[in-house]
Symmetry: C2
Subunit: 334 residues, 2 copies
């Protein structure tokens, strides 16, 4: 612990809040909290490194939001309800304005998602900011959404839209030129992801497998297929492309939609009989929900695109359109 | 997630192990595990930053051990039994020999302490290694060892010895010259702390308040006194000074013993009637246990030293011997 006395005071001012109901030991060596006896604990941790995961000049309010959001997204992917979180911060210097803004963004999302900050660690760093967040939630063990739970015949569903964060990132990195309105429209999806937490917590019992699309649709869906020992067929035209991408070249859009990461939305599978119930649930929570394909018994991920089949070559990429593509199997229309 | 495919494989090779009994979801977006319905969850997180918390050339086996040990120490300070942990690693490059050695040290302590690695996050860093560990344990809520639970009349107990890690650190930093045998004898206490986990998990119901001495005896005991709204009287001659410090100048030893941190041992308080039971428990677990003072109703921390009273001036330091010292109140002999 390298902070001096006055730094402790500053950190305490921005991060210490009254212990929320149900928590039992904030401020001790450990945080203590109760877990519903009918549930198991779900937990996940993510590191965000300056220069790797965020720009040095990023708005600290947005960074506070995002550092919690990317972790809440992992809870959503299990169908878990948030219980609380821990925050580790390594800071090159203690800036009151930075801490105040970061804490504002962090606590705002913690409040709206029912995931109070219960404790953590603050220390000095030699180079750049490092943020470590650990989240806890609870989920009934029998119905937790696991990667290995997809079944042949399941529909594949997506919440939200695809492509916007990847396009914003590429513009900001100077790897893509686009009209300024494109950055304006896509950047909130990069800086302020909004995982569909309340909707996700209703999925256990209705959905089978789920995960978030933090590494890109094809790579992440590949994790479900590998764990579930099955395949999938996606219909490209069904994918919920963010509308602000409509002015971009088609290959740029396709790359962003299929392989662009940082989408803290859910990809999940469910029996076709659940479709009406899922769509009603999405309406209730104001979540955009799209059926984009189905799980197949034969292994492999196949993408239908304008009546052709584009085989997927593995994590991180996809082949050119296969010359040997055979007739596409039509999906039930969503 | 900035690791490439082959890096994922390497990381998986060293950190993925079969899911231990009682855990339910290793490898998913979250780790899932059950908590005893009679208990609450205890959790803590610590960041270790290269150049701040460890030397760049530190033995990675020891670093793997220590990064888990400092977190287990927080569980011990609540009297919690370990359930599992998460590991976040930010690496400037992927070195197979470093990962292999780090994992060896980490898993060895995880195995002996019953705290299996359940998940985590691995990413690239731009400068140096960053290690983030989060531990989980469980403890009966009514008897968890809290800082605020000390009562006037309680004995104050310490496990282990004091001073060795601070002396090793000062020698390694070039701030202290000493015979090479001193470094040899003290360095294991800096590099491989051994929190008394099994002993600590038996303390709920027997002890009242507890914490570890990671920031130094006086500062940490001060946290108990502030939270419990009481004072303490320590007898310097009773403190368990590590024997290898015997050749060092007395002021150096006193500083190390009273204010030296990195001691992942427990300071706890308990009713005098528990003394025989606590000493028997310590014998059973092979833990050195020393009674060093008592909790007083009047606020303030007083140290008896050669029959004089040395008042403590606050966190991080202690005054010279008070000229106005009045007669010392003798402690019951431990």
């Amino acid at each position: 612990m390298a902070a001096s006395g006055s730094e402790f005071d500053l950190i305490a001012r921005y991060f210490t809040r009254p212990a929320p109901p149900g928590t039992l030991g904030v401020g001790d060596d450990c945080a203590l909290f109760a877990v519903d006896p009918e549930c198991v604990l779900a937990t996940s941790t993510d590191l965000l490194i300056e220069g790797v995961h965020f720009f040095s000049d990023v708005d600290p309010v947005g960074l506070g939001h995002k550092s919690l959001a990317v972790n809440l997204s992992d809870l959503a992917a299990m169908g878990a309800r948030p219980l609380g979180c821990l925050l580790g911060l390594a800071l090159p210097s203690v800036s009151e304005s930075w801490l105040s803004a970061f804490a504002k963004g962090f606590h705002a999302l913690a409040d709206t998602s029912g995931c109070p900050l219960l404790g953590g660690d603050t220390t000095r760093s030699l180079a750049g900011h490092t943020i470590s967040v650990t989240v806890f939630g609870q989920v009934p063990v029998a119905t937790a959404l696991r990667r290995a739970a997809a079944r042949p015949g399941d529909d594949i569903w997506l919440t939200g839209t695809l492509g916007a964060p990847d396009i914003a990132l590429r513009i900001l990195q100077g790897r893509l030129s686009a009209d300024p309105t494109v950055l304006q429209a896509t950047r909130p999806f990069l800086d302020r992801p909004q995982p569909p937490l309340a909707f996700a917590a209703e999925l256990p019992g209705k959905a089978h497998a789920a995960l978030d699309i933090s590494d890109g649709l094809l790579q992440d869906l590949g994790h479900i297929l590998k764990a579930s020992e099955c395949g999938a067929r996606l219909v490209y035209q069904c994918l919920p492309v963010h509308p602000s991408l409509s002015t971009l070249p088609e290959p740029v859009v396709r790359q962003a939609v299929l392989s662009g990461g940082d989408v803290y939305q859910l990809c999940f599978t469910a029996a076709p009989a659940q479709a009406a119930s899922l769509l009603a649930l999405a309406r209730r929570y104001g979540v955009q929900l799209t059926r984009v394909g189905c799980i197949t018994p034969e292994p492999g991920l196949v993408i239908e695109y304008n009546g052709q089949i584009m085989p997927w070559s593995g994590p991180g990429g996809f082949d050119h359109f296969s010359a040997s593509a055979t007739g596409a199997v039509p999906l039930p229309s969503p």
